[in-house]
């Protein structure tokens, strides 16, 4: 790692990490991006091809990064037939086109399903994150062990900001599984590492998330919406999930009891709305009232509400239940190591090691203060995350964000910031047209001996 890049990543330790004037950061960020591109170009085939085709030989300005950003869909650009037909060697080749380390050292002999493929990669020293694939296809993103350690370092200094400093001293509750290759699981563990009191870290389940299972469910959901699923398979799946739900109900009771036992000291709780609702209902049934928790507690509510039916006022109910605790939400995605943190004024601030690149809707042009009305502009979230050793951290996302280019955030710290109104350009299931993404996927497929 070059010294400037390392310096930027280490700046997260500084008390003013989220309050550094843009002018102080930009030169360093540009230098780091220039060095990183030079290094990665020789390591990641797709990046090299993209650079050649767009004629970007060197990063001289932030604009030069725009055509080099990978669409978020690139990490699921493998042909589905590779998985359907069990071509794990081809999947390795595909992953290799996007990764820095050579993954050919992975033994794929006799691999039965995608979960075993991921296990083998792990055994060969590669940490792979898979997205939950609610749209039917999973993304696979490689990290090195150093990336994971760097993320933990980032969490230690950024999580809980600006209210709470992680100190490994709280009872820790993750309303999710403890095992599985998804970024949610990894994030739970990193939070447990930095916030959790040893011996008091609790998870909803130790049953691993299986990617093959998630894919099977997504495929069934798709067939159901197309009217091609048979009643017997729908029923079998419904019975399975009812059984799983029953197991979970018992564990929810246990967790609720533990959470209530610790409610008068600062705790850490993280989960999605559906699970928060379950804890809430269970706690009420046990006689607990709303708003009884220690005010220094930290409660994270993450993720969207996917395929779950909740009462219309679920957000208000969950809010009332936890009461006046700290929330400290962040804005990130599986593709991003250093999530943005939200200040007292409700704005998202970025870490020094995250180069924020807000683009026009087509994803082709960098927005600047000249595009802004009253300092603000609406655009597509893009970024170069300088943390990754395992892959290219340049990503163009499907998220619609409002950026405030002003020198100062209403909280008093330096900008730029993002407003708390992040949405998507497309709804799940719709196609999101990003200028370069089709081209990039074509590259990747072209890079394979098909």
């Amino acid at each position: 790692m070059t010294s400037i890049r390392e310096q930027l990543l280490d700046m997260i330790e500084a008390p003013n990490a989220f309050d550094i004037p843009r002018t102080e950061l930009e030169d360093m960020q540009l230098t780091a991006a220039r060095d990183l591109f030079k290094e990665r170009r020789g390591q990641i085939r797709i990046l090299d091809k993209r650079a050649t085709d767009t004629g970007i030989g060197e990063i001289r300005t932030f604009d030069d990064l725009v055509p080099l950003l990978f669409a978020h869909t690139v990490y699921k650009s493998y042909p589905p037939s590779f998985i359907e037909q069990g071509r794990w060697d081809r999947m390795l080749q595909w992953l290799g086109t996007l990764s820095v380390p050579d993954v050919k050292n992975t033994d794929v002999q006799g691999v039965k399903d995608v979960d075993e493929w991921l296990d083998r990669l792990n055994a060969a020293g590669h940490v792979i994150l898979a997205t939950s694939g609610t749209t039917g296809k999973n993304s696979f993103l490689l990290q090195t062990q150093e990336d994971v350690d760097r993320r933990r370092f980032y969490f230690r200094h950024a999580k809980g900001w600006p209210y709470v400093k992680p100190n490994q001293d709280r009872p820790f509750f993750a309303l999710g599984p403890s095992k599985g290759p998804t970024s949610a699981v990894e994030t739970y563990h990193l939070h447990a590492d930095v916030f959790g009191r040893p011996g008091q870290k609790y998870f909803l389940s130790d049953e691993p998330i299986r990617i093959s299972e998630i894919s099977r469910l997504a495929a069934l959901r798709k067939r159901m919406s197309e009217g091609r699923a048979s009643p017997s398979e729908v029923r079998a799946t419904a019975e399975e999930s009812q059984a799983r739900f029953k197991d979970m109900t018992a564990r929810i009771e246990e967790l609720t009891r533990l959470i209530l036992e610790h409610r008068h000291e600062p705790i850490y709780v993280s989960g999605q709305y559906a699970q928060h609702m379950m804890i809430l209902e269970c706690a009420h049934a046990m006689g607990a009232k709303d708003g009884e928790f220690h005010p220094d507690s930290l409660v994270h509510i993450g993720g969207g509400v996917k395929n779950v039916v909740l009462p219309p006022d679920y957000k208000e109910q969950v809010d009332r239940f936890w009461g006046k605790v700290h929330r400290a939400p962040t804005y990130g995605m599986t593709e991003m190591a250093q999530a943005l943190v939200r200040c007292e004024a409700g704005r998202y601030h970025r870490a020094p090691g995250l180069i924020m690149l807000i683009l026009d809707q087509a994803g082709e042009r960098l927005l600047t203060p000249a595009d802004a009305v009253d300092g603000m502009a609406v655009g597509r979230m893009g970024f170069l995350d300088l943390l990754y050793e395992g892959r290219w951290g340049g990503i163009i996302s499907g998220d619609k964000v409002t950026v405030d280019f002003s020198e100062r955030c209403p909280c008093g710290r330096h900008g730029p910031t993002l407003l708390d109104n992040i949405s998507r350009f497309s709804q799940p299931g719709e196609d999101d047209h990003i200028g370069c993404s089709g081209t990039l996927e074509a590259y990747i497929r072209g890079a394979l001996p098909l």
Binding site: E226, G227, P231, S232
Partner: protein, 234 residues
Amino acid sequence: MSAVATREPTTVVHIVKGEAVFDAEVRYGTATPFLTPRLDLDPLVWPRSEPGPAFNLPLDEILDVLVATGDRLTRDPDRLLMEALERSTATNPLPRDILERAYANLGAMFARERLLFQIEQELGGRDVLDGWREVNTPSGRRCAIRACPARMIHVIAGNAPGVAASTIMRSALTRGAALIKLPSNDLHTAPAVLRTMAQVAPGIHSRDRFRQSIGVAAMQGSKPRCSSRNTSTN
């Protein structure tokens, strides 16, 4: 009178894609027990990814099939209706003489002039069943409308046998795909009408296409104690 626990169970026939299934595998009920084939929903549904089997049948052929079915129901040469009547007396709360008259009247429901009246007055005319009718909107634009067939689940009433017969007849006229859930108090009429239809000669092609688009089965919801949720999800 109702606590006849020792009554021999009757056997209920399912109709799956036009074929009668006679297996007596599952037992329901206590006071008036009955046996049915094991329920397999897979062949009883029509995937939305393809048109229903009867969607494009010409109306004239459907009329021929229905009229011939009505005629055969009246004559009942295979004594299928008679058998249904005998079995129904065990489960239907109506007195036997009323049931007998109701069964005797089923065939007349399929008379051609009654079918034509329904087509003209209830469905809006044969042209919208067989094709597109051009209409002008108030703003002067020309549009075309059509009575499109549907996929339906019929949870029918069992207090009179005419309900089962008219459900089958209306499914045929509208050419939809229909799954009929048998009511616990009329388990036998719908299968008997369809088995009778299977024997008629005119419009054999249309007859078999229509038989493909109708299924009849007793399901969990037939048990009086079951919640209505079961009937609606099945």
